[in-house]
Symmetry: C2
Subunit: 424 residues, 2 copies
């Protein structure tokens, strides 16, 4: 789909994408926008100027400081807005007078991406982190307990999408830095308190919930996708030493709750339709409530993880959203099976999306074998050398990017980035 | 402290208490109130009528549908409001003209408890459930793995207050019923999906956070109590079969996230000052960041658990808030040690508060030894027989009440109650 706006071929933000975010410029209030090419389209301005007049919903949902009210409307109104945006932006638009040829509105509504500040797109009520990455689970089991299978450590791993509740209050948007966390852990058999020595990243894919469900009313796996507002990249920063010491019985808490970073643009489900694949086939018979009619319920999107250090960008790994044994629909069905209410703005991550090789490892726990084999990360720029990492060092910057494959109409997420500041 | 309002000797709501809640009558909007004797004092009406005029904060915080804005003010303004309320209500009040002798205001502001509906007192952002009950942990370890100690199952148990993130969206106020949850678990070696067969309650004590902290700024253990707005009773309903199957690696999720009940009245820290005790003394040396200057950092309050079944009330157990090896201050210090931000309205539970005997068991997992020894619960009414319970049956009602010991100025919590409806 060609637009009358200049969209570079390699842009994350083609007309196929049109992801939603919350942005501000200078001292203006944060408001909803859509990324297109190298611009943000200001939805508040469009709504005020009547671009969505005649639609069957209150357009003030597009004039708020989070996307929650818009997300809560559900998929119907969201599809209508998306279609209208595509109709406004496509080269051969029949609505040219609304935006393309209305230069005063264009000047107000189209803002260069380089000049905006991006905010957390939604107020996140609850955050659940799943553990449905096949290779991550299998490799972590063998690293943490040599000879062990994941099924020995987690007997339910293949039969349900297992998960833990994450900490919603420490979810931040890309580019927010954080301090290396303090915690308690054993060193050489002695318990100490201090900055984590095993700080790690985790490459994840996540969805944000649109319409929720009432308590006591599970969501059927075959209608679960209707509750997804959109998708983001996620870095589930992890302090392995803190996590291993605390998590033996009740799972991770302080090893994770210091920071979780998401990418700023919420990519709508429609944008990813052409990129569907099946989750990993497993030799198993699922219980009925997890059986999906739809076969292609996962996505094929490579996620690149890069390390910024010493002024250079180094390749860490390429993971993929398809390295999962359960889909988002199955995660939602499992989460609500007991009657648990999901709410608009809830965040659900896949867990780490490693592939089978070290070049596809989605965390240093895997890549450096829990720090025992520091891994060489080559600089992206040819000839600029390399660094070795067991775990993250102070001032390291980790950046995830992801873009769909294929020659045109690319869908990407912008970047999911964060810098490790020294301990407070 | 005697009041000009009639407060029965055995009332939970003496002038020493003055707990905050959110209530409504008929079709009126929910608003803040304070329980006193058999009445609710309407804080919205008092604020509008100028009872807090001249105070150094915006009294519209007392005119909202949750207590969050008032709680966020911090301990200073809350103490001032408490002192004013006591001054208004005490028999020999010097402020008689404001309320006592102002019959028109009295008629508007004093509402019989029996005629109000109580709501969730705060919008709960995040909910963290700790596991600091000594006897619960030790007994559960021996029940679930005969011969095992809690330290073998959870090596960090004695050295830090361990916890998991709970599910905030399924926290409800007393008297909300819920359906027996569905889930996945093995029965006789075969995996099934269906209603839980091991539904349980858990007797807990919890605090609600007033002022939060910024990300990256830990709260010192010796100022941590300043962040507590108040206390409630909590029933952390648990489906043991679902929990045991899912929780081997990442802790509990679906085994807990279907419902958590709290009592409606938030008891201020000042109310519990006379009832302080030390947490359980343990043979251990704590790391510096968990060492409190204050010795009496726990509370001595018995919590009674009752079972309503077949039209009779049966005694389950009497637990106590003092069965803990860490205080709330230590829980808060641990939670924020890594920089995790707490927010106004966050809920933190102690975990199950069992004593050492079966008559003090705070859950059926302990009392019936994971269902293998159904336990006899005597009817409260003499001669009305007994029932046996391995776990909860449909239509069972579980009620917790708690009242401080001593002859006068009792402090109680109202009731924390819920009914198990049949599976959906």
């Amino acid at each position: 789909m060609a637009s009358w706006i200049d969209i570079p071929d390699d842009s994350d933000f083609s007309l196929q994408n049109l992801p939603y975010g919350i942005f501000s410029t200078d001292d203006t209030q944060a408001r909803p926008g859509v990324a297109v090419g190298q611009h943000v389209l200001d939805l508040q301005v469009l709504a005020k100027e009547g671009a969505f007049d005649g639609f069957d919903f209150d357009v003030t949902v597009l004039q708020q400081t989070t996307l929650n009210a818009f997300a809560a409307l559900g998929r119907g109104p969201q599809s209508v807005v998306r279609e209208r945006l595509q109709a406004l932006l496509i080269k051969q638009t029949e609505l040219g007078d609304v935006l393309r040829d209305n230069h005063s509105l264009r000047n107000k509504a189209l803002i260069p991406l380089s000049s905006v500040k991006l905010h957390l797109p939604m107020a996140i009520g609850s955050y659940t982190d799943f553990f449905v990455g096949l290779h991550h689970a299998e490799i972590c089991a063998s690293v943490l307990k040599p000879g062990a299978t994941i099924e020995q450590l987690c007997p339910s791993f293949y039969s349900l999408p297992v998960a833990y509740n994450g900490r919603a209050s420490s979810v931040v948007v890309s580019d927010a830095s954080f301090h290396r966390p303090h915690g308690q852990f054993p060193v050489d058999g002695k318990l100490v308190s201090g900055p984590s020595r095993k700080l790690d990243f985790e490459v994840e894919f996540a969805c944000l919930i649109g319409e929720g469900n009432s308590m006591g009313e599970p969501i059927d796996v075959n209608s679960a996708e209707d509750h997804i507002f959109g998708f983001v990249l996620m870095n589930d920063w992890s302090a392995r030493d803190i996590q291993m010491w605390e998590a033996s019985l009740l799972g991770p808490l302080s090893g994770k709750s210091f920071c979780t970073t998401i990418s700023p643009w919420v990519v709508p489900p429609e944008a990813l339709e052409p990129f569907r694949v099946a989750p990993k086939k497993m030799p198993r018979t699922l219980l009925e409530y997890l059986v999906e009619k739809k076969e292609l319920s996962a996505y094929d999107i490579p996620i690149r993880a890069m390390l910024g250090a010493g002024g250079q960008s180094h390749k860490i790994a390429v993971c993929n959203t398809n390295n999962v044994i359960f889909s988002f629909a199955q995660m939602i069905a499992q989460h609500t099976r007991n009657g648990c209410p999901l709410q608009t703005g809830d965040l659900m991550g896949t867990g780490t999306l490693s592939g089978p090789e070290r070049a596809n490892a989605g965390c240093f726990l895997e890549q450096s074998r829990n720090g025992t084999e520091p891994y060489e990360l080559l600089a992206e720029k040819h000839g600029a050398g390399s660094v070795h990492r067991a775990f993250l060092e102070d001032n390291d910057e980790v950046t995830f990017t992801a873009q769909t494959l294929g020659s045109s109409d690319k869908v990407g997420f912008g970047s999911c980035s964060g810098i490790v500041l020294p301990a407070f």
